[in-house]
């Protein structure tokens, strides 16, 4: 099976700094893939390797089965950079047209493609403005328009929401979901965890050049479900017995308990222990870990699974 993106053992060093450390990754066709990581984790370096802007020291990467070293591979890619550097003297229309020409869109279709891309991001009325006069959010919109040109099979978006207002973010989300429905694979590099959680099917978390967690959004948060209880009359006896069933010691703040079970079928056992030891369960719920909690745990505590 050929994947949209397939990277194997990618190593990239900048002098003594290891930007990517044996990174392997597979992105399925047609999914929205979220690539998360703190600043300096190596996210942008990986995107640059996919675009052949940076050569890895070791390893290989393929897009739709074709080596990223071939410039023809980029015929299927739309790219948006976080800090998009543009020719400021071009008008928005000229900028998009320039990219349409580079994208090898037939001359006859360029005009309609440029118009479609600009209308998709709601930027058609601004087409005569010079790129240098646009605000960051507007530049980002123009960048999104050029990335959408020719309906690419893969969209590589590096912090696409950067500079966009809430309306712009909502519109972008709808554009991405629309692209996904039409079979486009989206690779989203972002810090906005809530956005990733809402939009992405699969997530990879990168830290210090290594992938520390990967999987579907539900799988990742499902791996670390815990019980949240409010208990009256909680005591040390209960704590000892409950901890013997847990992967790690429970936490309690007054009557509020968090229990991390080895086996989720033991939830009722926890309830029984509390009852038997004279406590009273006021509320009892099973919770998944939010992406923010997962991210914080993996990145801050280096707790990879």
């Amino acid at each position: 099976m050929s994947y949209a993106i397939e990277a194997e053992n990618i190593v990239k060093n900048y002098g003594r700094i290891k930007a990517l450390d044996s990174l392997s990754l597979k992105v399925n066709k047609g999914e929205i893939f979220g690539f998360l990581g703190p600043n300096g984790a190596g996210k942008s370096t990986f995107v640059k390797i996919l675009l052949n802007l940076v050569k890895p020291n070791y390893g290989s990467a393929h897009i739709f089965g074709k080596s990223v070293n071939l410039h023809t591979t980029r015929r299927n890619i739309g790219f948006l950079s976080e800090n998009m550097r543009i020719y400021k003297f071009l008008t928005v229309e000229e900028f998009i047209r320039f990219h349409a020409e580079l994208f090898e869109i037939p001359t006859k279709k360029i005009k309609s493609e440029v118009e479609t891309a600009l209308r998709t991001v709601g930027f058609f009325d601004e087409r005569k403005r010079r790129m240098g006069t646009l605000s960051k959010g507007m530049t980002q919109k123009a960048g999104i328009a050029q990335a959408l040109l020719g309906r690419p099979e893969l969209l590589l978006l590096d912090e696409p929401t950067s500079g966009l207002d809430p309306v712009g973010i909502k519109e972008l989300r709808s554009v991405l979901l629309d692209m996904k429905n039409q079979g486009t694979t989206v690779f989203l590099n972002s810090h906005l965890l809530s956005e990733i959680e809402r939009t992405c099917d699969t997530i990879a978390i990168l830290n210090n050049g290594k992938i520390v967690q990967t999987g579907s959004t539900s799988d990742i948060s499902g791996k670390n479900t815990h019980l949240e209880l409010v208990v009256e009359g909680f005591n040390d006896d209960m704590e000892r017995e409950i901890n013997s069933l847990s992967t790690k010691n429970m936490t309690n703040e007054g009557n509020y308990l968090k229990v991390y079970l080895k086996d989720h079928n033991e939830a009722l056992t926890v309830h029984r222990i509390i009852d038997q030891k004279g406590g009273k369960v006021m509320s009892f719920s099973r919770m998944g870990e939010s992406l923010e909690e997962i991210f914080y745990r993996l990145v801050k505590n280096g707790d990879s699974q």
Partner: protein, 262 residues
């Protein structure tokens, strides 16, 4: 189409540089200086040199002046050609498209050639017009002379681009211009017999002359079409020299650019 798209944007960008207009004005100033040496303007009544010779001197002075400023413009723009794109980060956006690095370099070089040719023929037009008004005669050979100078601009552009990988932006045009003037100076005794009366080039000088790109030879040969003076030159060795250096600097530039990360 991709190369042309890059060249069009590059051409537009060059038109925004102040240096383009500065050099254009300087070159026009020099054309007027050359015009002041034309027979009608000259006050030399002793007729030690005939009117025709005076006219040719004025034409050649104007021609060499235009070439000098065109080469200067070509060098200044070429020195910034790839390094500026790299510093400003615009190269990454272009290369994220299905554009190979050699196509990118070709597009950028084509933009310099377009602006240099535009500048050259604009000046040639002004030059021809002024001399036509002054002397009421039209010398079409001068257009041919300017046409022959185009390979020089291509080679000079490529040489400057290749050099820009090894030195700071501000130094590159100076080094290119030094090499250009050096080849011009070294080729003097091989084109003007009278110079050999005061300077007979040694074997070492001849070796350097043969080793360097023959910018000077091409310029003097081009100038000879203006006055239709006879010049003995080895067209095969001159063509071989120009072609070898053009290919060398092209492959070197592309090779070095392919090694870059953005």
């Amino acid at each position: 189409m991709k190369i042309w798209a890059i060249a069009k944007v590059g051409f537009k960008e060059c038109l925004r540089y102040r240096v383009f207009y500065f050099i254009l004005i300087m070159a026009i100033f020099f054309i007027f200086l050359g015009k002041s040496c034309t027979p009608k303007m000259a006050t030399n009544k002793s007729m030690l040199i005939d009117l025709n010779t005076q006219q040719n001197i004025a034409m050649e002075a104007g021609f060499h002046g235009i070439i000098f400023w065109s080469v200067m413009l070509c060098g200044l723009l070429s020195a910034n050609l790839l390094t500026k794109e790299e510093e400003e980060g615009t190269v990454a956006m272009t290369l994220s498209r299905p554009v190979s690095r050699s196509q990118f370099v070709a597009g950028k070089i084509l933009s310099i050639l377009l602006i240099s040719a535009f500048n050259l023929f604009l000046l040639a037009g002004v030059f021809l017009f002024l001399f036509y008004v002054e002397m009421e005669q039209f010398n079409p050979n001068i257009l041919f002379s300017f046409l022959i100078m185009l390979p020089t601009l291509i080679l000079y552009c490529l040489m400057t681009v290749a050099l820009s990988f090894f030195m700071p932006r501000i130094v590159t045009p100076l080094v290119s211009m030094f090499i250009y003037l050096l080849t011009l100076w070294l080729s003097l005794p091989f084109h003007f017999d009278k110079i050999k009366l005061v300077w007979v080039p040694s074997e070492k000088v001849e070796l350097i002359y043969n080793f360097l790109p023959k910018f000077g030879d091409l310029q003097f040969i081009s100038a000879s079409f203006i006055d239709m003076s006879e010049k003995n030159y080895d067209i095969i060795s001159l063509s071989a020299n120009m072609i070898v250096y053009t290919l060398l600097f092209w492959f070197l530039s592309v090779f070095l650019f392919k090694k870059r990360s953005f």
